[in-house]
Symmetry: C2
Subunit: 122 residues, 2 copies
Amino acid sequence: MPKAVNIGASLDAVAQTWAPKVIGQVNDQYVKVAKLHGELMWHKHDEEDELFWVIQGHLKIELEGQGTVHLRPGEFFVVPKGTMHNPVADDECWIVLIETVSTKHTGDVVTERTRSIEEQLS
Amino acid sequence: MPKAVNIGASLDAVAQTWAPKVIGQVNDQYVKVAKLHGELMWHKHDEEDELFWVIQGHLKIELEGQGTVHLRPGEFFVVPKGTMHNPVADDECWIVLIETVSTKHTGDVVTERTRSIEEQLS
């Protein structure tokens, strides 16, 4: 029997910050949840937009040459493909991400914080 | 200066039920808001999944041969492509939809309630 996905419960189950988890797919896009705290890193996705939707807390998305977008619960922002960006959460922030199934976590920048798609699907 | 999209404010601005409005785009998917009340109609989208996310109220999605999915605020469901479905809201319900830019409102069924993509973008 098909059933709904509960976003709050999915976020409750996330143990680590900066470790997105896939909770659904619509066409060629994954729906993911993540907990953020601190600063990720500057990166871009050359071919893919990335949607950030805040569920709880306050997220800043720094955009190269364009200032900072502030997101509060119930607000979203789409980082256009090719745009250098850096997500920053001064306090823990819970978000939904929507991005193409092929999108790499930190673009072409790879550090110990980078999560593979396999990790995001596990 | 880029800014966030507020989903509640976008929904407040929707005057009619069953008239989705595009409020964003991520890759080849539109993000839409809609107010629902009553029953739409049975239809399907042969090539496209459709994501329903409830913001306020209670939505039932009847699925041919698979029963009914109940959605409450903070829950979503993806109707797989090719699945006959019928959204029903006994009381007014506010939702976000995510679907491919080419998706037709009521699939191949067209009635006076069908909204064109031009209407959804206006």
